[in-house]
Symmetry: D2
Subunit: 369 residues, 4 copies
């Protein structure tokens, strides 16, 4: 059960205290107050946990400052919208605001290899005014004999260069809880030159211990990638592990699923699920066209399939795009064939801009003026 | 091996005769001349069939009127592009021109039920200037105890009403070769009030006898729907059955595939394959959002998933959209839950228009001016 | 609603007439009497069709000759067991008795090529006392440019040779209704030298027109192969088309399904569904190890995977085995890599015999003595 | 490159030292000697690691004590057979010998709940002479709100009771590296009352950090469960992570895969892969019928589907069976619907015995006497 308070409620509102006090009078019920600073206003929610099925709504609804009372089901307790009862207010991290209404592109190196490549990549982003990126230090690879990433050794110079080029947030995969500490330490050591969004990869989508670990800290937000062989519902259940741990700053990423029916693409592109995830959860939705398509083929119109599927995600309302880019794809130690070249980034961004404008035009038609 | 003649070659060109004559001097080689009237020009191709691997290209290339010589592989012999060697010139039927550059929407009744519903549906199309539609008379149903369609009985009044409302082409599923004859007879009986594109459904995607039957006639074009449990390559191979029979006026339709990974949608939306089919074949590509999504859920932005996935197909270059619409979805005898209401058609068309404009803007950026 | 009469009821039983007469007194109800000659006794069932939900059971249960009254649901109306309410009595064809208790192996040529190969194959069967075989004359192939089978031309000599070697029943795929007539004519012309079980292949599992055609005749039984990309329930619904047409002599064949998760086998072996089909329907169940496995690899124990999966089907109670065999697999025009060699047949039969004996031993333990 | 020494080579063999010394003369080549105590003899292998493609075979083959030299590929370097070049000698743990020739059944509680249930379960095993079991303390669950297992708290009494009933080895899932330490500590604290095989579950099949952790210790063997949404090859690659870490005492477990094509079973039973894994790797193969089938339905012959699929795995040569059993399935906190009842265990073991005898009879026919 969630008591949604009126927007922009003062933190010291006496009504808030009264709501909490009233809630605690019910046997076994505990409370958790969550304050979300959205783009245009702040939202305060009081979560009632425990045997809330016997708690009546009316006494709470009578408070002036209470907007509404939403009964939640166990399913997607923290990430869910509960039949459109809850808004998707979004969150802010290191100056970057993310919600179901915002839009960001995160280009970058799937696997960090050299300082020069990192620097050239961030410089290319900066030249286009992009302040969000991806960069892989810890790489889970199908075979133990493949390149496993540079690990924590590269963190200092990756973060330092990011800061130098004005990058505010880097999506970075972690595969072990120690990586979280290593990243936090390196961020601190570089004077918080940039920020990191912890990425949980598709192979770890049901590694519940890792999900608990990223959920147990609230310093860094989390990018959860859908499991490639499980249903959307199972992935959302797994994502709930992060939220139930306490960290609610989560973005859900679609990256294609595994089935032979998707050939010749590397994975079967699942971006038709963008509106589904936005409807069922409060989470901003990211799409990863690089890992979905996995190759550089172009249509007869000259546009790469990676461009096409990106636009498919964006025109349906995706809030983030994670895309592989590399100064020298042929030299990349991981997934080179699917990376865009630096000189293609500008065209990619322009293509994406058209799709985003189309989405906004579609949505605007519905809005009463 | 295909000899592509220069565009707008006169039908009585002496070079054409000479090319054919030369080709026939090679042992076992037969020829087939194919003339395609495209939107802006006509294309003439001479197919060399038989043991052409020993036929040299040079003698043909020396003709003034020969544009190029393309060696083809057995795979997708007639529908393929053969490594971009061949253009997708498209075709015309009953005043409707279809190619990889054109765009049409075909709204209509999944299953024809009453004259009134048919009339109201065609009238709604006419009001928006739409001249292409869908209408199902023969319905293949999973269970023998479900409604199987009105069959040939409804053809006269369906065609008559289509003609009255200016519909030029109706996509209509056939499940048996007799249906082709029945449709042709009914068209003739109604004075060719309208036109029909024969639709082969997903359940018959590998019903090779039916494919041969629709391929053996050239009066009516064919809409081939991808098989829902087979790879794209297998579906294209099946589609080649139609073309190898002699009928090259084919549109390939994506309609989602079956896998639990697509839940909660009825099928897994496969529109990321739009650029793939356009690259691998010369066929215009259609998308069917209704059978892919199968339900009326909307995103939190108020737009139906059916709208979203349609726009995903269109922004990637789809040439046709097949969409279920019904005056009273609750009374529909088949697939009612996925049908748009007549009063939603206008909003749908406007939504689609935005996506098509976005696709054209994307493509225009690539074209040198 | 089905009225099951006591076993071995005389055809002219007055009770049967009375049951039918009583049933017809209910408005809109029609009846169909079905008599099944099983191995040890005959079963008579009276099907009540129409609005039977208002028909009471009691008046029928009072007849001396009525064993029980089973209410059926629309799902699997004719092939279903209706919650174990109905027995699987089986059927006889040309001296071969098939039920959920019997066991037969049908080795043979996937595609008939030469008279010599056919003769040698049937001779090899005869040498081992086998009277059931497979032989393909009409071959549905993924590409139109692959060998499509010898068609009706080979029927006379295939049937003649079968008869010469004592083969009583050949499973033979049909892909068009004309093939049924061709086969019936050829059987007649050869003086019914052998018998044919009409096989509907996996690609035509939802070709409802073909299913209606094989269901509309009752001379020849039907072997229905599961669709490779649809659920078991959808395949059973399709199979019901055959039965609803009037032909109840049906065998259901498992042959693997398409998913990349089955690699390195050609299809994903689905023989765990043997007990499921036996529980849900009255149909004998066949397994096709050749098309499931699709290759000749052996385990380190020296036994081919084809042998292993066959035994997996048999130990779970399969009633028929369809297996590809060829005198010269390297020369086979279709699916040679998966065919056993003639000289392997004896070892295969011995292997199968062990598995069948194991199944019978498993079942015997349950039977009260 | 692997130098396989003659069987039963003395540990202090001078040839062994010479082989190692010779190997090390090649630049960059390191060696690792692996001695495997099999059932009937011991095998010694010298692994040459590094740039071995330039190392010749001949100098090694000239040693009296060298049986053969096997060139290996990177794929499945440690677990592979390398084109049948290597034997599957198996391993021993706590008095239990496991190889591709042995056979054990491991019944037990999917999730440990009470001491009484644990005790009754182990007692039931002991009564049938079974010395191997399963028991779940750490449970990865799809939702964070489901029962997550009793964790390390139950280890002391689980191990103590196991010892009391003569259980030698318990398969126990771990989801975090700390669990390994907790298990080892508890084993030590209970005076090694029993033994534990560390189980990596299907959701962690590509949790490479966990795989490295179980591979980095050699005290406890590992039961690796196939990933449910990835190909067999990907699962084997993941399994190689364990072996490459140093622990070669691994059993590979098939447990069904996720696809809607397997309905009504919980997962699609994949036991046709038993001979495939035995051919491609040196690992003993386990099957898990409980998680594959996931329900208690029986065939019309009265045998549960769980019994049927178990026999399917066993008749194809499976070396281990992991089966859920519970004294009171209705009270089970996890997966109760798929658990056998204690009183069914005897019938299950007898059923399995028939299938194993059938497998042995099948194999015996091939062996020259």
């Amino acid at each position: 059960m969630i008591i949604v308070m009126r927007a922009d409620l003062a933190a010291e509102s006496p009504d808030l205290d009264r709501v909490v006090a009233l809630a605690r009078t019910f046997p076994g019920v505990t409370t958790e107050v969550r304050r979300i600073q959205g783009a245009t206003r702040s939202v305060t929610e009081v979560y009632l946990l425990g045997p809330t099925h016997v708690v009546p709504s009316t006494p709470f609804e009578e408070f002036e400052s209470v907007e509404k009372v939403v009964r939640i089901t166990q399913r997607y307790r923290f990430i869910g919208r509960h039949d459109a009862g809850l808004e998707a207010v979004g969150f802010e991290y290191n100056g970057v605001f993310l919600s179901q209404d915002t839009f960001h592109v995160l280009p970058g190196l799937c696997a960090v290899d050299t300082l020069e490549h990192v620097d050239r990549t961030f410089a290319a982003l900066a030249a286009l005014g992009i302040i969000t990126a991806r960069a892989g230090a810890y790489k889970p690879r199908s075979s133990p004999y493949d390149f496993q990433g540079l690990g924590k050794a590269c963190l200092p110079w990756v973060f330092e260069r990011a800061g130098r080029h004005g990058i505010k947030m880097i999506a970075m995969e972690v595969t072990h809880e120690d990586h979280i500490d290593e990243i936090r330490a390196a961020l601190k050591d570089t004077g918080f030159a940039t920020g990191v969004m912890l990425q949980v990869g598709t192979r770890n989508a049901q590694n519940f211990e890792l999900l608990k670990a990223v959920g147990a800290q609230t310093e860094l937000p989390v990018l959860f990638k859908r499991g490639m062989g499980i249903t959307l519902e199972e992935s959302l259940n797994a994502c709930e592990y992060v939220a139930s741990g306490g960290n609610r700053r989560i973005v859900f990423c679609l990256r294609g699923v595994k089935t032979h029916l998707g050939d010749p693409h590397r994975n079967f592109v699942d971006f038709a699920h963008v509106p589904v995830v936005k409807r069922q959860t409060r989470l901003p939705v990211c799409v990863d066209p690089s890992h979905s398509v996995g190759r550089r083929s172009a249509g007869p119109d000259g546009l790469l399939d990676i461009f096409h599927v990106t636009c498919q995600g964006v025109i349906a309302g995706a809030n983030m795009v994670l895309v592989d880019i590399h100064p020298a794809p042929d030299e990349a130690l991981c997934d080179g064939p699917q990376a865009l070249r630096l000189e293609e980034l500008s065209a990619f961004m322009e293509d994406v801009r058209i799709a985003r404008a189309a989405y906004e035009a579609r949505r605007a038609r519905l809005t009463p003026r």
